[in-house]
Symmetry: C2
Subunit: 456 residues, 2 copies
């Protein structure tokens, strides 16, 4: 038997009430209301670790959805990512309760300075013993910009230019500022670190100037695993250079293949090799012991879904419901003065009416399945083998039912099929779990060029 492609299994989370499955927080037994409590994260982490999940992926925004209807009323009523809490601060809670589970946390490169962020990620890499990943985003909410002294969102391409420099700074800190053997910790001589193996980075760029040294000692992975969620042209080039894991929400297999192909090509251009990037899709899985159980559950979720929540969520940077149905999305975007590529969940060429109907109808597409464990496993195998997907970010309809059902019903089936393996006793780093090639970012990645203080 040839070796089968393994599934990377993540839970998609956010430190908020209603992340993406709007309306469903109010379902009986749903724990989402407890998102701010420490016990929510401890229980969830234990469930995921015991259930065979590789990781939890934490989304974030640093503003309110206040375009739809002209203010944040819909967002507040729906609990639509408002209120929300900081995602980095729940990682230590989950790390304390687990040994293997990985973490992907979202942080935007646009508004906060790189120096303290670099230390935060190093701190998390230490505390988790190498289980931390960073989902690099540039942020897109207009309200986010206004929380940081800007009148409007910085244009999309400029945000990417800022992000490139931000990454350059943190790579210098993570990879270049301390040598691997800088920590001596000699109790006899009293020497803790060898200063000849620690250095300033003296970064001077158009937006940031950072002296260093990095304050944190070398951690297991140094640079956290780099995640990115993207689709736009600037995003593809960025991912080709930086991303190790790309997360895409593509509705169809073709969408997915197009994005993945473009990023693979961009990574190839950067000299990173064929296998440099893993691709995750957002997946909806509703599983039952019988077909009926699964379809009842799915029907309940559909009935209780808040269309208003979906529309309010999709209405950033523009409120589609404010434009004529027969206009194209492109035209509506132009009228609002924003690039159509920044409108999530809608094809620029479709009409506003089509886009709204698609949103109202829910967003399940290729990467959705409802059924018995064997039906679900068959479908997941198709995503892996036919579509070329490497893993999933599992959408939660119900916390913790979605994760528990998957752990109890689907994971055993995927284990039987060789798609999920038993873990080794000794915890591996997140990067090693994903690539099986050690803890550190590969030599061919741009971050590695600062190792040993080179190119500083």
């Amino acid at each position: 038997m040839t070796e089968r492609k393994k599934l990377i299994l993540n839970l998609f989370e956010m430190n908020t009430v209603s992340h993406i499955t709007h309306g469903l927080w109010a379902l009986p037994g749903n724990n989402r209301e407890r998102y701010a409590d420490i016990g929510y994260w401890t229980e969830l982490a234990e469930l995921l670790e015991d259930g065979g999940f590789d990781g939890v992926f934490l989304a974030d925004v640093i503003g309110a959805y206040d375009v739809f209807g002209g203010d944040f009323s819909a967002a507040a009523e729906e609990g639509l990512q408002l209120p929300s809490n900081d995602p980095l601060l729940v990682v230590p809670v989950m790390a304390a309760a687990t040994r293997h589970l990985g973490f992907g946390v979202t942080f935007a490169t646009t508004y906060e300075p790189p120096f303290p962020f670099a230390r935060r990620m190093s701190t998390l890499d230490h505390l988790t013993n190498g289980r931390i990943g960073w989902n690099i985003v540039t942020s897109y909410l207009p309200n986010a910009a206004r929380n940081f002294g800007l009148r409007d969102e910085i244009p999309h391409d400029e945000r990417y230019a800022i992000a490139h420099e931000f990454l350059d700074v943190v790579y210098k800190l993570w990879e270049g500022s301390w040598d691997d053997d800088a920590i001596v910790a000699d109790r006899d001589t009293g020497v803790f670190a060898d200063p000849t193996k620690v250095r300033y980075i003296n970064h001077e760029g158009p937006r940031h100037s950072v002296a260093g040294p990095h304050l944190a000692a070398p951690s297991r992975q140094r640079t956290p695993v780099l995640y990115q969620a993207t689709g736009s042209p600037a995003g593809v080039a960025f991912a080709g250079k930086h991303a190790e894991v790309v997360f895409t929400g593509g509705r169809t297999a073709d969408d997915f293949r197009r994005t993945a192909g473009a990023i693979r090509e961009a990574a190839h251009t950067e000299g990173r090799g064929e296998d440099a990037v893993r691709f995750l899709v957002q997946a909806g899985v509703v599983v039952g012991r019988t077909e009926e159980e699964a379809s009842d559950k799915w029907r309940l979720y559909q009935e209780r879904t808040s269309v208003r929540g979906i529309l309010a969520h999709a209405s950033s940077p523009i409120d589609l419901t404010a434009y004529p149905r027969e206009w194209t999305v492109e035209r509506a975007a132009a009228a609002a003065g924003v690039p159509s590529t920044t409108i999530p969940y809608a094809n620029p060429k479709s009409t506003v009416g089509e886009a709204l109907d698609a949103l109202r109808g829910g967003r399940e597409g290729r990467f959705f399945v409802a059924g018995t464990p064997s039906v679900v496993a068959d479908e997941i195998e198709r995503w892996l083998d036919e579509d070329g997907v490497d893993g999933i970010n599992l959408r939660q309809y119900h916390s913790f039912d979605t994760a528990r059902d998957f752990a109890e019903l689907v994971v055993p089936e995927l284990r039987k099929r060789g798609r999920i393996l038993e873990r080794p006793a000794e915890p591996r780093s997140l990067r090693d779990v994903l690539f099986g090639a050690g803890d550190r970012i590969p030599e061919a990645h741009t971050a590695a060029r600062y190792r040993g203080g080179a190119n500083l």
Copy 2:
């Protein structure tokens, strides 16, 4: 019997190797080397909670000590706050392991934007169920400035002006943006929050412009307990307006009384009342079952103390060893172009030689005691009753021996004397532990003027 003044008991910590007792990390059995591991913080938190401590106070700097000798060599060799990790991220670890222990974490108002910080503190207040405090600092290391795009440290008084505005922003977010009853969480109607009780703050100031709304829902304390460590004139005025707990490192009872008196007066001027501020001193306590055990321990600590570590630590913003011994500290500061009030651990009027000798001789002063439990308890009672101290930040010579010794030997003695009480079964908020007047910041505090959206 009249009621006796209670001792506020904190451990003084930092997420680093060598915080203030330089050289001692290398003592046998000292765990400081493990500061980056999650287990260090779990064990410490359990020890403190079981041992009757009220809280742990986490210092921080966001730069390296690189003035002494012209670079960070001494700091790296000594592990002198280099390497160091982020302090906020170990709070969730300790919170998960405890129910009562409070946390005071240091964060500087000078370099990072207020909006995401406000959410981080709210997140911690939620995760700890109201046990978080914030030690407000403006940062003083020249290297810190250079990590944030500045050539030199911002002048001391200007840093305080920036800090006032920073606080104004976070007060608006914490107290004004959400009403107490904004969260509805009605599963029948599907309404999570009432948008008429959530609002933008629309702060427009000289340095910050922040729209809001605050992303985090109301937490138990809202505004975290506000700590400040100070002595300078700008610092005293600031503390009088903002601080609920002032931490001072004063060497003599007179130093302490002078600072405390000035701050009480400043608080009075602000209309905050007699009892608005609690005063903590940094205290060194070496306790043994016998006098001999205590003095042996103290002798060992003195022998193993690194004078170089102390000098390197004290040499910011200027390296005193680079100036003639007969100069005053004031004159050395003027020659270096820095205000003498920003030089820690030295009286501006003393000579450089005197200051250096005092540093070399160690820093124990009034708030130090070595002896048996009853000797130690007698001395602590003097600090409380004669000097007017409210509590201590216990300096660690050895982790975890210092805390364990205090918990096992001193706490029972102080309990007997009515200076430390048994905890109630239901955890209180940190503010309630400190003031016994509920969870929220008092009406007379400037933060409270934004409640219900007033003055926005």
